[in-house]
């Protein structure tokens, strides 16, 4: 054992303190494991805090006809049947209990007139299904989980970034990271690890995601030998702010449309009539994002290159009560009063459907001892996620990952941590201080974002994707020359060097998968292959590391049993 570093030991180590990580921690602790949870930011600041519109669960409080079968069907349809059907089934069945549990832990949702949890409409959901707290549902959820976890006595390691997973004879043995505050290194020994690190949006310049979303979890899993899946499916949310420049990409919650918001182009046309006359503004995200993109591209966009989204026909008091943070966000940041006039909106990189390939029941990755839940994991959402299905995903699979990681840990002895792996991780982390090559991480980041935005965006085409691969390879070369000044004390430039490594890995994976999938499905739109392809509809793209290189193969999607097939029959191939 290497005793050069501060070391902590737990049965279960959870990387990520958003909804998925906290829910996993609570459950693992409840199963008798000693649990540590690590996060890059302060506790309570993870992305989950930003979630607005709500959490999807077929509670049938507002629409009595709703049940898990409909939720399951909606999720599969939204995901264009590429979802792991078993995950979609578990998710739909367990979400209501997970929501009730939150309430029992102190969460306060908006109420129906008869005192139950209120639910609102959202894109792609057949019924009013999203339990919510105004437009700050994520804050309610993360506080509730955080308070519960803290009371139970979880050890929290805040502002600590993991840069490597450690393994021993083919199974997980721990993780290596640094404290952001002082730059010192730390080693965690663990019998099992749950990744709950969220998404990858920071590889694009126009995004609703925070600095944390650099794809660390996927890159860590990949480097350690686990498989990634469906990396081509990156969700562009149709409504991000487009003006002023500083807030470009900031999310405008789908709840605006859920509450009756209308989309128009600069000529005042309600253009969704041309793209999805049935569901209009509440069509799925992929459809609405492409519609806005197309309107702008064809010259019908607003002054700042977006569409108008208008909720001002509703009473001002109602808008302020149902969408308080949107009201303030526009008033304070864009000088727009949304109770009086329309917002300008356009697509923004928002959510990663792909990620670590996991087993439906246990959230186990393909590497023994490594589990993954939440946005970092793939499978539930298929080719396109429905709004509200992420928060429920975090709870359902966070809990399952917690159980499975604790049970796994019970059967294992502590694996040994290999000091060679730790030394390599240390050398890698310190390298940017030792170079004087003047390759600035901020510039490299900007160049990567530019590449992904222009070549691997909403609409994709062979030659762009080929060219993106070439550029990413060149950026990887440049990343070998990154250099940084200053000390190891809270040094964001240095932190970005580590984040860039992850972003480059996931960007390459996204591009490789996008190039391979020669069809359009859900969030993945190929100009050169605009239709569904029945063969591609039955296979997932799988990324793994072979001989130090990224390799891609296809694997058939699991076959759905008859009784579930019946629930979605007649829907196959519908709604490109």
């Amino acid at each position: 054992m290497n005793d050069k570093f501060e070391t902590h030991e737990h049965d279960v180590l959870i990387i990520g303190a958003g909804g998925a990580g906290l829910r996993a921690a609570i459950e693992a602790l409840g199963h008798g494991a000693s649990v540590g949870i690590v996060c890059k930011s302060l506790l309570g600041k993870a992305h989950t805090v930003m979630a607005e519109g709500g959490i999807a669960a077929a509670m049938a409080n507002v629409d009595a006809a709703d049940d898990w079968r409909t939720h399951f069907g909606d999720t599969m349809r939204g995901g264009k049947f590429l979802n792991n059907w078993r995950m979609a089934q578990i998710h739909a069945q367990e979400a209501p209990d997970r929501v009730r549990e939150l309430e029992q832990w102190g969460a306060l949702f908006d109420r129906t007139d008869d005192g139950r949890i209120l639910q609102r409409a959202f894109g792609g959901h057949s019924f009013k299904r999203l339990c919510h707290v105004g437009d700050r549902t994520g804050l309610e959820m993360i506080r509730t989980l955080q308070d519960r976890g803290v009371q139970m006595g979880i050890d929290v390691y805040m502002e600590c970034t993991i840069t490597r997973l450690l393994s021993d004879a083919g199974r997980i043995s721990g993780a290596f990271g640094y404290w952001r505050e002082n730059g010192r290194f730390v080693v965690f020994k663990a019998k099992s690890i749950v990744l709950a690190t969220g998404g990858i949006g920071k590889a694009w310049p126009i995004t609703s995601n925070s600095w944390e979303y650099t794809g660390d979890g996927m890159a860590l899993a990949y480097e350690a030998g686990a498989e990634l899946m469906d990396m081509e499916f990156v969700q562009f949310h149709p409504t991000g702010m487009v003006w002023p420049p500083g807030v470009q990409g900031l999310l405008v919650t789908e709840a605006v449309r859920g509450e009756g918001g209308i989309l128009r182009n600069k000529n005042g046309e309600r253009f969704m009539e041309r793209y999805d006359p049935k569901r209009m503004e509440l069509s799925t995200r992929d459809v609405v994002a492409r519609a806005i993109y197309t309107e702008v591209k064809e010259g019908r966009g607003t002054e700042h290159g977006g569409a108008f989204l208008d909720i001002s026909h509703k009473p001002a008091e109602y808008v302020k009560r149902k969408l308080p943070s949107m009201y303030h966000q526009f008033l304070e940041l864009a000088d727009v009063d949304i109770t009086k006039g329309p917002m300008e909106v356009g697509p923004t990189c928002h959510y990663m459907m792909g990620g670590v390939r996991v087993e439906a029941e246990t959230a186990a990755s393909t590497l023994p001892g490594l589990f993954a839940a939440g946005e970092v994991a793939a499978g539930l959402h298929g080719a396109n996620r429905l709004g509200g299905n992420s928060l429920s995903d975090l709870l359902v699979f966070g809990r399952r990952a917690g159980v499975a990681a604790a049970e796994y840990a019970k059967k294992q002895s502590v694996a040994s941590v290999d000091s060679a792996q730790i030394d390599a991780a240390e050398r890698e982390a310190l390298a940017p201080f030792e170079r004087s090559t003047n390759e600035n991480p901020y510039m490299l980041h900007a160049d990567l974002q530019q590449t992904m935005q222009s070549l691997v965006g909403i609409f994709r085409i062979e030659q762009d994707l080929q060219s993106a691969l070439g550029k990413i390879a060149a950026l990887k070369e440049r990343a070998q020359r990154l250099s940084i000044s200053g000390s190891r004390m809270f040094n964001p430039g240095w932190h970005l060097c580590a984040d860039l490594k992850s972003m480059l890995t996931v960007s390459e994976a996204v591009t490789l998968c996008a190039l391979a999938r020669k069809e359009s499905r859900g969030a993945h739109s190929r100009l050169d292959f605009p239709k569904f392809d029945p063969i591609w509809g039955k296979q997932n793209n799988i990324i793994s590391r072979r001989g130090g290189e990224m390799s891609l193969q296809q694997r058939p999607t699991p076959e759905m049993p008859q009784e579930l097939q019946k629930l979605v029959d007649g829907e196959k191939g519908a709604g490109a």
């Binding site: 008869d114 005192g115 804050l139 304070e332 430039g493």
Partner: protein
Amino acid sequence: MPNVTLRIFRGDRESGKTADYEIPLTPGMVVLDALHYVQKYQAADLAVRWNCKAGKCGSCSAEVNGRPRLTCKTRMDSLPQDKPITILPMKSFPVIKDLVTDVSWNYKVNKKIPAFQPRPGTDWKMWQKDVDRVQEFRKCIECFLCQNVCHVLRDHDKHEEFGGPRFFVRIAGLEMHPLDGVSRTALLKKELGLGLCNITKCCTEVCPEEIHITNNAIIPLKERVVDEFYDPVLRLVRKIRGA
């Protein structure tokens, strides 16, 4: 658009001084955008905390021209541009580096607060009007700006005896939860020093979530403490009614 000068604190626990950076203004720019500009082009190691850049996470607190603010919600065009804009770390917490402070004390105080516990036999029915009142407190994004301005902490340094407005808000949210069955009044009185608050309302003024910290949280809690210690029967009635 014109250039402006930012005067930013650079330093750590031991020492530090302000340094000037000149940056070009862009339309709608907020202070956090300006800080990011400095990181990108002038000082890659400038330490700043932030996450959402949308006023939702409460990470980016600092003192801008002497006023405690969220830097992601402070528009540059709301500040005078003919003189340097000073950006200093929150004063009530120890500096780690530049604009980043050590707020771990808050997490320690938080641990002392017993979590929500439902009254036995509850049927989980709640009415919006009862929930509304508590939802106000649950809007807190833990920016700690109220803690930063409260004189009990800022000038008198009573971190050992006083929980601070943020945690009075949190406790108000638990105590007024329609179904909660625990009492936290003894904790308020004995450990969290509610009595030290003399209702100056400085906390309310800086709260970016516009929580009426003093009127809606602190004063009712003070009344509860009085009831509990001097009129336990009234207290019991309140608890049963869920008020």
